[in-house]
């Protein structure tokens, strides 16, 4: 549908290579660049924010899809890596986001293959309906490890 919503964040320079971030949903924090880009260790960075945006969005969409597919979710954990390419002209781009979710689901007496099929479809739906995943140019690769407990 053609409906729109808007979300905002505000950044303010604090001097040197430091900034302060106020997110539309409430949290505030200082940020910098990563150490390999003239920033500081131990703080939020744009690179982390980009990968985290995709990782958190996919997870929240998966949680929603798992409810819709009536899955008894026991655990979800996902490490996501963003691959940065430095081009010949020194511009940079995240070319790839690789998700490796570990998903544990209880079968609750149902056929294990059927439940695993629903988990995979919930994961596909999570990617399909993820706002952030739909908004990035990076290739998105999701390799789930699924455990169904009897």
């Amino acid at each position: 549908m053609g409906q729109t919503s808007t979300y905002s964040t505000t950044v303010r320079w604090k001097g040197e290579h430091w900034g302060h971030l106020a997110m539309g949903n409430g949290p505030e924090m200082d940020f910098s660049a990563p150490p390999d880009a003239h920033g500081h260790a131990g703080v939020f960075t744009p690179e982390d924010a980009f990968v985290a945006a995709a990782n958190t969005c996919i997870m929240m969409m998966f949680i929603w899809a798992a409810e819709r597919f009536k899955l008894h979710l026991l655990a979800y954990e996902c490490r996501t890596e963003g691959t940065k390419l430095i081009e010949l002209d020194r511009t940079e781009i995240f070319t790839r986001l690789q998700f490796r979710p570990s998903i544990r689901v209880a079968a609750d007496g149902e056929n294990l293959e059927v439940v695993e099929g629903r988990v995979r479809r919930a994961m596909q739906s999570a990617q399909k309906y993820s706002l952030v995943a739909n908004s990035v140019k990076s290739e998105i690769v999701i390799e789930p490890e699924i455990v169904i407990e009897e």
Partner: protein, 148 residues
Amino acid sequence: MSEYLETTVDKFVFRVAADRLYGAEGVWVQAQDGNVRVGMTDYLQQRSGDVAFAHVKPVGTKLAAGDELAEIETVKANVSLFSPIGGTVVEVNTELDRGPEIINESPYEKGWLAVIEAADWESDRAKLLDPQAYLSAMRSQAEQELIG
């Protein structure tokens, strides 16, 4: 294999099978062997989202035109489908239990919902839309939704 009419609205392509009739709300009806097969249109399945479960009324259910035929649970919504014809459900697509995604993948073929023995096919048939009329109505509806 069916032939299709096709229309593009914004970035979405919707197909309408040319060999059947349609209820205005997006249920197709195909007469065969004295009964009628029913299912969801391509537009309605795209509009509804990825199907998680399909609950079709069981064999033996008697329906009047306009009665609920099925409830489709998708990732995004619960969608009630109403029968555009009256009659008795004589067959339900059992493949939907194991793989309801066939409604998304093949709405006009493998993803059919049920076969109904029509009570008054000639009367109900007169109220249905031909493929071109449904295509026009569906296109107007899709454009209206885009405007918001």
